[in-house]
Structure formats: C-alpha cells, structure tokens
C-alpha cells in the first residue's frame, strides 16, 4: 500500500483539479487518472498526460467536459503548486510599489468571482520585484454575524490599491470602489504570474495618472512624466 501512496501535495492538486471540473470529486478524477497512467500516480507520469489522453481515459469519462475546463484542470495537476511561500514585507520596503489582491480559487490563476472565490492572494509589486505578502481567506468566521458578505470581503482587502477578479457584480464593485480599491475585471482567465508581469511593465513605463496616484508618486513627479509624454 505504501508504494501507492501519493504525496500530500499531489493529493492537494488532484483535489483542486477535481473542483475545477463539473460534477467531479477527487475520487472520480482519481479513478480517471489511475486508468490513464496506472498506479502509482507520480508527478512524472502526470506531467506526461495531454488533453486527448485525459479525454479518452476510462472509456471517455471526461469526453463531454468542455475543453477549456479540462485544460485548466490539467494545468492545476501539472503546476508545481508548491504552496507559494509568503514573503516578509514591512511598509517602505519597496518604494514605488502597489499592493494588489488577486481573487483566486486555485492559487495560480485569477479565476475567482469576487463574492465566491476561496482566497485573495495579496502581492506587493514594484517594477522589478513582486512579493506574495499574504493569503487571505474570505470565509466569514464562525459566530461572526455579517450583514453584507461583499462589504466584508472588500474590507478584507482594504489595504490593496488594485484588485484583479475574473468577475464581479455591480453593487459589489461599487463597494470595492468606495473603499478606494481599483477593481480590474479580466477578459479571460489569466495566471497571477502573467498579471504581475504586465503590471510591472506598466509601472516601469509611464503609469497612468490614477495608478501613479495610488502608488504614492508625488503630483509634481507625475507632472514631470506628463511633460515628457506630451513632449
């Protein structure tokens, strides 16, 4: 039995990947994976699975599942989801940086709806550095009475200047904006790593005035930017 045991991390990934698929629990995914690559399940063998193999395994158990969902589940399975390490940060460590919150379910992609995502990953991002400074669980603690779940969630990330989400409702967006957080709804699912890279390009270039403002760039310095930009 011991030879068939899978690592804790792999088990976690299988659980997360199962959640990404419709009507699938870890057990069902496990049976498909077992049929696909045989026991024991190892990282190396899982890395070799492609979309078609997953679709045809166990007599086409997943044949009817949407391809983007399967691709997503595969990416979770294969990602070295080394539960990302939180890094220390004290205010003032990273001048010219911005704090962002990413609504996520899998911890890798910005795939969360504001009101239902399982976690907010908080990053401090500057032009040449990005630190994961916190992972916040938006579940309402037992025994705490909360009238407005979305306001509770918005307050949880109140220290962030920008929020990335896959989707958000109108009234919730208004509550986010009210707390001075700039919500960014992404047109599709993107990885957090890509989002950070894009943001860093913007920060390194000429950030738009609203971003420069939330980054704490003095108005006089911003004016300097403009003069250059207007040429």
């Amino acid at each position: 039995m011991n030879s068939q045991a899978i690592s804790r991390e792999l088990a976690l990934r299988i659980g997360l990947a199962a959640r990404a698929l419709p009507d699938t629990d870890a057990k069902r995914l496990l049976s498909v994976l077992t049929d696909c690559i045989g026991l024991p399940l190892t990282e190396q063998k899982i890395a070799g699975i492609d979309l078609n193999a997953l679709k045809s395994a166990k007599a086409g158990e997943f044949a009817d599942v949407d391809e983007p969902l399967l691709t997503h589940a595969l990416s979770i399975l294969k990602s070295g989801l080394n539960a990302p390490e939180r890094q220390a940060y004290t205010d003032g460590d990273m001048p010219g940086s911005v704090r962002i919150a990413c609504a996520s379910n899998d911890g890798i992609n910005v795939d969360g709806h504001f009101g239902s995502c399982s976690q907010f990953l908080i990053y401090q991002v500057s032009a040449d550095e990005a630190r994961l400074i916190d992972i916040r669980n938006p579940d309402i603690p037992d025994g705490l009475e909360v009238d407005d779940k979305n306001a509770f969630r918005a307050e949880l990330i109140q220290d962030c200047q920008v929020l990335y989400i896959a989707s958000v409702g109108g009234p919730a967006a208004a509550k986010i904006v009210k707390l001075g957080i700039h919500p960014m709804k992404l047109p599709g699912i993107e990885t957090i790593a890509d989002i950070i890279k894009q943001l860093q390009t913007v920060i390194a270039g000429t950030p738009p005035p609203w971003l420069a403002k939330v980054m704490g760039v003095e108005a006089s310095d911003r004016f300097h930017f403009e003069r250059e930009a207007t040429g």
Binding site: V177, P208, P209, R222, A229, T230
Partner: protein
C-alpha cells in the same frame, strides 16, 4: 460654464466620450479631456451632465469654476 476631468483620477475607461451631446470629450495623450470652449454642461440637452452621470469615479469630472 464647462466641466473638466481630474487627470489623477481618470482611469481612461472612455465611458464619457460617446455620451457627450456636444462631442466635447476626446482622448488626450494622458487621459480623456473636455473642450471647455464647447462644453455646455449639457444645458439644453439634459438635466444633468451626462459625463458625470456615467463616470465610474467619484469627483473625477468637476465644474471648471467652483
């Protein structure tokens, strides 16, 4: 009798541009801007300035003379 866009707050969403009845709003090099010469604050066309109504940011579009 005109409005202006606070540059530091404008997020360049562009929502205001199509709703202006006098076509006074254009995208500038940095953010959107209002032509003070043609802006009527929507007087004669609407009860309230349309750009202020659609702007998602509070206090981003203000009257030139307070």
């Amino acid at each position: 009798m005109a409005l202006y866009i606070v540059e530091a707050d404008c997020i360049s969403c562009g929502d205001c541009e199509p709703v202006c009845p006098t076509n006074s709003i254009t995208e500038g090099k940095i953010v959107f801007k209002i032509d003070a010469k043609t802006c009527t604050e929507c007087e004669g066309d609407f009860d309230v300035p349309q750009c202020v109504k659609v702007c998602p940011v509070d206090n981003c579009i203000l009257p030139l003379e307070a």
